[in-house]
């Protein structure tokens, strides 16, 4: 119950201000279809660099939680999911809004997000210390394998093509090796002066997540926004609360699936929402009403995608393996302050760890309160033209990347990585494994070198790295995630072929 000792930090004036600012800002950014939660958090990181670690993390955590919930606003009112996590929300949410129940849908969405989110953060509070104690048993070989597991799991599960996912991870690992080698001081892959200091994580995150979206917005051209907006009549909050109490089944299924899926590294909120929606439909006596504006579908989807947020941080804060791409960006936010997840975080920085986690608990309540009152306003933000959004993000990317080390080299690297990622993304490569390779590369290398030195004094590297139950378990995770992804890719292409064959026969 150590977390109870650190609640005071959340209510310090600056912390509370950042929590409220992050929540409101996150709701607005989440409601904006062009801006993904990952990009929003990546753009916020330069600001956290100038803050105390705990305050920086509070801001990022609040933005993470509320961007996921804020995405429901545009999903419900405009049928444009603000984030991939809100795809399932739009199925029933928008139908409800079209039938004149927009405010009711928004209330139910924020309330179920809040309940799911609270349970998710409670899971984070109780599971994290247990896992971080387990992490104490980890030596260099295990930490090396853990980093490799992080890259392979995200690479194979987060991408539509596992070869491209793993290739993205390899590109990230290679990028992490650019610059001067820490032990020998040798130059590695320095093709330009800007690369001599290596690749800084923050400009890389901004480039990899923000620039491809800016170019995507360019790609939409000079189109006129034609969006069917829905009028939102007033709704009594207490009525919505009563309605939520009457839908405990959907709330339970959504929260359970969201929490479980959040714990699995690499599986994001998009899947959580869709799986919870599907399962709730299966168990519902009104399954035929799903898709026609049935509140159960909305409640299941929203409780699931916010219940995913807390558990997705469990593997991140204990084992450095992020549960989602946004969690990978949060890992970058931790590392720039010199804080390493695992025992270092909970033993040496308990104040930072617990205040951050507690702020997420309070953040859920703030998110419900502000969400309900700012929802209609946030929906208007979604109508901001692409031309202005792209210009603003481009300028913010320049200032954000420069402000970290006041180096033009960082800015050049940011744009080069961003343009490269745009082209890679158009051909099925994914930014999440690349970022993870970039972040975990130095951890993997440092532990690999340390491990080889220990191995030289013992039974040699093969025995040191490939034997022992923990090594075997981690190798099993890496291999099985690749095997599972290979199998599911194979099944997907087989069913596609069968579908084509059927069409030809017809």
């Amino acid at each position: 119950m150590e977390f109870l000792n650190h609640f005071g930090g959340v209510f310090e004036p600056l912390a509370l201000m950042l929590l409220i600012g992050g929540t409101v800002g996150g709701l607005i950014l989440g409601a904006t279809p062009g801006l993904s939660p990952t990009m929003a958090v990546a753009l916020l990181i330069p600001f956290t660099f100038h803050l105390q670690p705990v305050h920086g993390l509070i801001l990022l955590g609040a933005a993470y939680t509320s961007t996921v919930a804020g995405g429901a606003v545009s999903a419900i009112l405009l049928k444009i999911p603000g984030a991939p996590a809100n795809i399932a929300t739009s199925l029933d949410g928008h139908e409800m809004a079209k039938q004149g129940h927009g405010a009711r849908a928004l209330h139910l969405s924020f309330l179920s997000s809040g309940v799911g989110g609270l349970i998710g953060v409670l899971l984070l509070i109780f599971l994290t210390p247990l896992l971080s104690q387990w992490a104490l048993a980890f030596g260099p070989s295990h930490l090396f394998w853990l980093a490799i597991v992080g890259v392979t799991v995200i690479g194979s599960l987060d991408s539509n093509s596992f070869v491209k996912g793993l290739l993205s991870g390899c590109i990230g690992l290679w990028l992490s090796m650019i610059g001067y080698d820490d032990i020998q001081g040798a130059q590695r892959f320095i093709f330009h002066d800007a690369l001599s200091g290596g690749i800084n994580i923050i400009p890389a995150l901004i480039g990899l997540f923000a620039i491809p979206q800016v170019i995507d917005m360019f790609g939409k051209g000079r189109f006129i926004t034609e969006i069917e907006t829905v009028k939102v009549p007033k709704q009594q909050f207490m009525n919505s609360l009563r309605e939520l109490r009457g839908n405990v089944r959907a709330l339970t299924i959504g929260t359970t699936f969201g929490s479980i899926i959040g714990l699995i590294p690499g599986v994001g909120g998009q899947i959580a929402g869709l799986v919870a929606y599907d399962q709730t439909r299966k168990f519902s006596p009104d399954r035929d009403k799903f898709g026609t504006g049935h509140p159960e579908g909305l409640i299941a989807a929203e409780s699931a995608n916010n219940a995913m947020v807390g558990p997705s941080l469990v593997p991140l804060l204990t084992l450095s393996i992020p549960g989602s791409p946004t969690a990978a960006v949060l890992l970058g936010g931790l590392l720039i302050h010199g804080i390493f997840p695992g025992t270092d975080l909970f033993d040496n920085h308990p104040q930072v760890a617990w205040t951050f986690i507690n702020s997420m608990l309070i953040g859920q309540i703030l998110m419900v309160a502000f969400g309900i009152y700012t929802a209609q306003w946030a929906a208007r933000i979604a109508l901001v033209p692409n031309s202005l959004m792209a210009s603003a993000v481009l300028v913010l990317a320049l200032f954000g990347s420069y402000s970290i080390q006041q180096s033009m080299g960082d800015v050049y690297i940011m744009l080069a990585l961003g343009v490269g990622m745009f082209f890679l993304d158009r051909f099925g490569f994914s930014a999440a494994p690349l970022v993870l390779g970039l972040i975990l590369g130095p951890i993997a290398e440092a532990n690999f070198i340390q491990g080889t030195q220990i191995a030289a004094a013992q039974d040699g590297p093969w025995v040191y790295f490939l034997t022992g139950p923990l090594n075997m378990l981690l190798i099993f995770f890496a291999v099985s995630s690749i095997a599972f992804s290979f199998w599911s890719n194979l099944m997907a292409s087989k069913s596609k072929k069968d579908g084509l064959a059927e069409e030809v026969t017809k």
């Binding site: 600001f47 290679w174 800016v214 790609g219 210009s391 913010l396 320049l398």
Partner: protein, 153 residues
């Protein structure tokens, strides 16, 4: 819609070229001890790159929407502004002056309003000035970031 086999082949060739360069440098550069980890990673890098290339050449690579000529033409002006802004103008003209110009250029290029419409020009200029004022307040006053001043500001 998925990208054509040719597009996939071009992209996978580029990735293979990078992987080959990384592998070659990892195994030829000295001191060997500093390249131990790069050597290990580059083996997997080149293996996956070859696998990806074979899939692209044989038409098995189907993930990714690619880039249509129409999209490329739409992106090109914005991308050109971004490249000139970051690699040339920011340092030589100054961060704030070049950012205002880039903001106005991008918002004008992709604004659906007709270019001859005076009202839309006024709107864009006002938004640009407002946005730059916020950026100045945030970075110069609050965060105290010293940016290159260049020729202007």
């Amino acid at each position: 819609m998925t990208a054509s086999r040719l597009q996939h082949t071009v992209m996978s060739s580029a990735v293979l070229a990078v992987a080959s360069l990384v592998t070659w440098l990892s195994f030829t550069e000295e001191p060997a001890a500093a390249f131990l980890f790069p050597r290990m990673i580059s083996v997997f890098f080149i293996l996956f790159a070859v696998w990806n290339f074979i899939r692209a050449v044989t038409g098995l690579a189907q993930v990714g929407v690619g880039i249509t000529p129409k999209m490329a033409m739409t992106i090109l002006p914005g991308l050109a502004v971004a490249l000139v802004y970051i690699y040339v103008a920011a340092d030589t003209l100054g961060f704030y002056a070049s950012s205002a110009m880039a903001f106005l250029a991008v918002s004008t290029l992709y604004d659906p309003a007709p270019r001859s419409d005076i009202q839309s020009w006024l709107k864009r200029i006002t938004i640009t000035l407002g946005f730059m004022a916020v950026m100045y307040a945030l970075f110069a006053i609050v965060l105290k970031v010293q940016t290159p001043t260049g020729l202007f500001f």
